[in-house]
């Protein structure tokens, strides 16, 4: 399949998704939404990798997308475990409630 898509447009889409994800991390106070925005950020990085790999016609872009996928899976499992523990201890999902660094 030949896709005559200019790479600058793909990178622009990736940039828009990245900035949306970063904005989500910045403006939300709910931890679940922050984690979802982080997923968007990682996904946009994957899109940029795929675009670059396809641009050069090499499989390396897809290889690095697989590694990003692994990273996202690991990050989400640890992050969701942290969210569960936070909800058990504080009874809220408010990020500002977790500012006392006690054990």
């Amino acid at each position: 399949m030949m896709a005559a898509v200019p790479i600058a447009h793909v990178l622009t889409v990736a940039a828009v998704l990245f900035v949306l994800g970063v904005t989500g991390v910045l403006i939300r106070r709910n931890v679940v939404f922050m984690l979802m925005s982080l997923e968007v950020v990682l996904n946009s990085a994957g899109l940029a990798f795929i675009a670059a790999g396809q641009h050069w016609g090499q499989p390396d872009g897809q290889v690095f997308f697989i590694l990003i996928l692994t990273l996202a899976a690991a990050e989400v499992s640890v992050g969701l475990a942290l969210i569960l523990q936070m909800f058990r201890r504080f009874g809220t999902l408010d990020m500002d409630a977790v500012r006392e660094m006690r054990g």
Binding site: L17, L26, R28, L47, Q54, P59
Partner: protein
């Protein structure tokens, strides 16, 4: 082909906006699934069918199911929507959103302007089948596969340790 690419990009961006500004966690999660599907279609259109399949199976399948389970365990009632609405006041989001928009505008301008001769003129190439990806992954990047395995093991142990219910300890 080009039209399909732009329609899918628009779907991905709109769905992502709905995730970022969403009030209800489950609704935002469904929009996130739509966004991931759209990105999978983008991968397919760009000529990376294996990455598209992985995106659907692992991202939209496994990771989102994990999110759904955790949101179900959190027992979020209808009052959380009102709480979200209170937390997401314009006073809170206006500053970061405007600054991010400025950065995005600069980024898009650079992509269109700076390297128009080298990047914007070039186009996406051929379809790369799963076989080439597999050969590259398990020959050239074998060490990275090992490191990814170690990272998954560490995440497994870490998630088990953190998510464990501690009886009689802690606050």
């Amino acid at each position: 082909m080009l039209t399909a690419f732009y329609i899918t990009s628009a779907v991905a961006i709109v769905a992502t906006v709905m995730v970022v500004v969403g009030r209800h966690a489950v609704h935002a999660l469904l929009y996130l699934v739509v966004s991931l599907f759209a990105v999978a279609v983008l991968f397919y259109l760009l000529g990376a069918p294996f990455a598209a399949a992985l995106e659907v199976i692992i991202y939209a399948g496994a990771i989102m199911v994990l999110f759904v389970f955790v949101i179900m365990m959190l027992k979020l009632g209808p009052e959380t929507v009102a709480q979200e609405r209170a937390w997401l006041a314009p006073r809170t989001w206006l500053g970061p959103a405007v600054l991010s928009a400025v950065l995005l505008a600069q980024w898009v301008w650079l992509l269109g302007q700076e390297s128009s001769a080298t990047i914007a003129a070039s186009e996406i190439g051929r379809t790369i089948p799963a076989r080439e990806v597999g050969v590259s992954l398990f020959s050239q990047y074998l060490l990275l596969v090992e490191i990814a395995g170690l990272m998954l093991l560490a995440a497994l142990v870490g998630a088990f340790h953190i998510g464990r219910r501690r009886e009689g300890r802690g606050s």
